[in-house]
């Protein structure tokens, strides 16, 4: 089976390389187009270089801490995770900035939406394949080197060991958690940094360029327009890619960690998990994910080789459904092959060999449902968003009010879906089943990332077409592709939130297991006492934390956007020739402002996610952190759904007006809708995606550190002193 995984990973990365090269070979169009594209590329490269140099220092510090306090293997796995995630983000952003101008040029040369869609999708597929490929490559290395070669997955080593500080853990769980933490750290900085960058540039471009000076979107006279395009790449490509890579890894490792603890804690029970079964339970998530990667590759191949129609949304949906369908089908066979003929009752499988597959299917179905719900609440084909557009007729206050109402109402249906999926998965295969549901939802992540990355590429292509003054027909093609990208982005966010919720729940169960000591082999009581004041206090603080985190993020975007607004105003004021076309704006200065703003503002929110569980744990102990995780997870899921859907609905409400409804562009309704969109921008593109990572990073940090603060915490120390 390991050979199969290796072949799939090599195949995925080779496919990514082929697509990278195929896109790069395409013509980049006129000199003007190339000059615009190279400015975007330089800006994106410069930001990621600055960001990664900052992250490198943080990675070194965390790796050193893990080395000293936990173990060398957790430290090495952490560095590997950070490297894999950073590589995927870097390559994805690179190809996105190469693809954008080629998409624009294909539209120009062919005037064919299908051919143009193919180029955008081929560019996006590089990111998708890198996310799937690098995530699995790292996991495969971790599994083979630490698990197989160093024996960590050998059943004799799946026991709780105590390190030099007296800290308990099962070594393999700590290794894979370290790997996940590496991915999470990159995702957090890419999402937060990219989110602040992109919205600062977007808002700066809109608030002065569009609103004050009245110049259209993507007009080259707007000094912030290149920064805005750079933002699409660093936020929506590198940020999104590392976010979903982290979700993917988090879901897989949560199943592996659970399997390890279930094996250990059931050791002396009446029905222990067998050595053979635990080996399969640990390796199965990687096999399942590899099959998902194969399915996605087939889906991508089919789309690239078929005659693509002029309906991009339908084509992308078809490719996604092919990948999902193949994942389900192939994995049904694989699951049966892996678990057939075994006694699975010890693992809590209620429906035989196919139990984990059924849970994964539940995850796939609930993911698709959540995506559809996101579309229903954010697409202007449906009533909620049209309602926001209609409310704009009465002014900005009602636009905001209606958007908030839509966002708040949009929370319940996905949450019920998740609840049903969790209950159903648990009743079919226990907590392992819940983790499998998360894996199922993300098993064709390669396809969802490919589709999601296509969006910002098409958006950039539209910008380049506009700035290079290509034919209106070309701009119509790129505009249509961009509009489809907005919907796919909303669906992608639904997947990210849903999978984050499921993965966080699995990680939370792992957290409870991780408090077990070496003598806990007769079972661990997975109960968090909600009437324990520590738990309750933790839950309260945890529920408030996403609000604090979101508030800081919104303020960060506002601060960076304010600097951008001032710069754009300055350039217009000091260089009136910019607007008459006699002078070229200073794009670099705007790029620098966005970069500096993002780098300055992203530290505190990122630190909150790392420091809070550690601080809470070392002061108040594990019950407090347990409550903290529950509170944060619940509150963050609601807030993430609310912000993503409200923001998406405001954005598309504005687009509905701009498409010629309620007076269209230039109407009072349009002004109100623009205000709604501006409010929603940082919510949907900065806050929402970052909240997904907040809950997962807190869960992973807690999982790694719980055995430390269970032993060393101020409250226990004071209690013991008082009792003395």
């Amino acid at each position: 089976m390991f050979g199969f995984i290796v072949i799939v990973i090599i195949g995925a990365l080779a496919f990514a390389a082929i697509n990278y090269s195929a896109v790069k070979k395409k013509s980049a169009g006129s000199e003007e187009m190339q000059s615009i594209a190279s400015a975007i590329q330089e800006g994106a490269d410069a930001f990621l270089r600055l960001e990664y140099s900052l992250i490198l220092k943080i990675v070194i510090v965390i790796a050193a801490l893990l080395l000293v306090v936990v173990s060398w293997y957790a430290s090495v796995a952490f560095i590997l995770g950070a490297f894999m995630s950073a590589s995927a983000g870097w390559i994805g952003m690179k190809i996105a900035t190469i693809s954008n101008v080629r998409v624009s040029n294909t539209a120009n040369e062919t005037k064919d939406i299908g051919a143009t869609l193919k180029v955008a999708f081929q560019g996006g597929s590089v990111m998708g394949l890198c996310v799937g490929g690098f995530a699995l490559l790292g996991l495969a290395i971790v599994y083979y080197v630490f698990g197989v070669l160093l024996g960590q997955v050998d059943p004799s080593h799946l026991v709780i060991k105590t390190n030099w500080l007296g800290i308990n853990d099962i070594p393999f769980t700590m290794t894979v958690s370290g790997y996940a933490l590496g991915c999470s750290i990159i995702a957090m900085f890419n999402r937060v940094g990219g989110g602040i960058y992109t919205k600062a540039a977007d808002m700066g471009a809109d608030l002065v360029g569009k609103t004050e000076a009245g110049i259209p979107e993507d007009d080259p006279r707007n000094p912030a327009t290149i920064a805005d395009n750079v933002g699409d790449n660093v936020g929506d490509v590198a940020g999104l890619g590392s976010d979903l890579l982290e979700s993917f890894v988090g879901a897989i490792i949560s199943a592996m960690v659970l399997a390890s603890y279930i094996f250990f804690t059931s050791g002396h029970s009446d029905n222990p998990v067998s050595a053979e079964l635990v080996s399969k339970l640990i390796s199965f998530p990687i096999i399942f994910a590899a099959a998902g990667l194969v399915s996605s590759m087939l889906g991508i191949f089919i789309l690239l080789k078929s005659n693509v129609s002029a309906k991009p949304h339908a084509e992308l949906n078809k490719a996604t459904f092919i990948a999902a369908g193949l994942t389900i089908t192939i994995n049904a066979v694989l699951t049966w092959l892996v678990f057939r003929g075994m006694d699975l009752s010890a693992a809590g499988f209620q429906l035989g060999a196919l139990s984990p597959w059924i849970c994964a299917v539940l995850g796939v179905v609930s993911g698709i449902l959540i995506g559809q719900m996101a579309e229903r609440y954010t697409s202007y084909d449906y009533k909620p968003t049209k309602g926001i557009a209609a409310a704009s007729m009465e002014g900005a206050a009602l636009t905001i009010t209606q958007g908030m109402a839509v966002g708040m109402k949009s929370v319940i249906a996905p949450v019920i879906t998740l609840g049903v999926a969790i209950i159903a998965a648990h009743s079919v295969a226990g907590l392992y089943g819940v983790a499998m549901a998360a894996i199922g939802m993300l098993s064709f992540v390669t396809m969802t990332v490919s589709v999601d990355t296509y969006g910002p590429i098409a958006d950039n292509a539209g910008g380049i077409s506009e700035m290079a003054h290509l034919d209106p027909e070309v701009r119509e093609i790129t505009d249509e592709l961009d509009a489809v990208g907005n919907t796919t982005a909303a669906i992608g966010k639904g997947f990210a939130i849903g999978s984050a919720a499921l993965a966080a729940l699995s990680l939370f169960a792992s957290y409870l297991y991780a408090q077990a000591g070496p003598k806990a082999a007769e079972g661990v009581d997975l109960v968090l006492n909600m009437i324990n004041t520590m738990t309750l206090a933790g839950a309260l603080v945890g529920a408030a934390l996403p609000y604090l985190f979101s508030g800081i993020l919104i303020e960060s975007v506002a601060n960076a956007a304010r600097a951008m607004v001032q710069e754009v105003r300055r350039q217009f004021s000091e260089h009136p020739g910019i607007l008459t076309g006699e002078e070229t704006p200073d794009y670099r200065e705007c790029i620098s402002i966005s970069s500096a703003g993002a780098l300055k503002e992203m530290k505190i929110p990122a630190l909150i996610s790392v420091v809070t569980p550690l601080g809470g744990g070392f002061i108040f102990g594990p019950e407090f952190v347990g409550g903290l995780l529950i509170g944060t997870t619940l509150s963050a899921i609601m807030l993430a759904l609310f912000t993503a859907n409200a923001g998406g609905a405001w954005d598309n409400g504005k687009k509905y007006v701009e498409n010629g409804h309620y007076g269209g562009k230039g109407s009072d309704a349009h002004s109100a809708a623009v205000i709604g969109d501006t409010v929603g921008d940082p919510l949907k593109d900065t806050v929402g995606p970052s909240l997904d990572i907040l809950i997962k990073i807190m869960a992973v940090i807690s999982l790694i550190s719980v055995s430390i603060f269970s032993k060393f915490n101020l409250f226990s120390l004071l209690s013991s002193l008082i009792s003395l």
Partner: protein, 256 residues
């Protein structure tokens, strides 16, 4: 450097001499000198030297380059009753300038009656007054009526445009028509209905206020300059022509 004469008709009526070419003049007037003024502008290039209302000698003497060689950008010859003192034959190309400084040039043409006359029209007057009116008169007759000294309410010359009227009962699918139909829609419907009911009135004022924005998005067949000597028309290019030949302007004008 040659001296050009421009009759601005929106947002203010004036005769201006300038050494700037028309597009440059439009951008300068819309955007200002040291800061982005962001103001729409409509003007007509005029063949100077006619009559004695405007001081052409003053213009020739004062409209000179600055000492550093920069052209003289604007020299006002009149800010009052300018239109009525320009004969129709002196009018040249009209320029519609967006607030970010892009110009659309429209050539003067002979008057053509509307192809499908629905029985009424919505007129936006630009100069010298600026009300919004509905009328059962077609553009030629409306121009004649508004410049006829027999009427108490009249002007020697008038510049106006006919506006597109969509389905006022389906404002959700209005198209990009700006803020014209945002407010007082019921009043507009009442005005149209009162004309259609045949209650003698040929015109009704919908709005007397002085709009500070133009409605390039909903300009209909064109713009008209009418005086007691006749009428000339500035036909608006259709949407296809705008998209094909003037996309940047149309985008700036919020048509696309």
């Amino acid at each position: 450097m040659a001296v050009h004469y421009y009759l601005t008709v929106f947002p203010m009526e004036a005769m201006v001499a300038s050494q700037l070419e028309p597009e440059q003049f439009g951008a300068y007037m819309a955007l200002g000198d040291t800061k982005a003024a962001a103001e729409q502008l409509m003007f007509i290039e005029v063949e100077g030297g006619f009559g004695d209302f405007f001081d052409w000698d003053f213009a020739a003497k004062k409209c000179n380059p600055h000492s550093d060689g920069r052209p003289k950008r604007s020299l006002y010859l009149s800010v009052y009753r300018a239109l009525e003192n320009v004969p129709l034959e002196a009018l040249g190309t009209m320029y519609l300038v967006t607030k970010d400084g892009r110009s659309l040039a429209i050539e003067k043409d002979e008057y053509k009656a509307p192809a499908n006359w629905p029985g009424f029209a919505l007129y936006r007057e630009y100069c010298p007054m600026s009300p919004l009116a509905v009328s059962s008169l077609d553009p030629k007759n409306y121009g004649d009526y508004m410049t006829d000294p027999v009427n108490k309410v009249h002007a020697p010359s008038i510049l106006f445009a006919d506006l597109r009227v969509g389905n006022l009962d389906d404002i959700e699918n209005s198209g990009n028509v700006g803020n014209l139909y945002d407010k007082n829609l019921d009043h507009l419907k009442d005005c149209i209905q009162s004309l259609q009911s045949g209650k003698r009135k040929m015109t009704k004022i919908v709005d007397r206020s002085n709009f500070n924005t133009s409605f390039y998005q909903i300009l209909g067949e064109g713009l008209y300059v009418s005086s007691d000597t006749g009428i000339v028309m500035y036909p608006m290019p259709d949407r296809d022509a705008l998209k094909k030949n003037h996309y940047d302007w149309a985008k700036s004008a919020l048509i696309y």
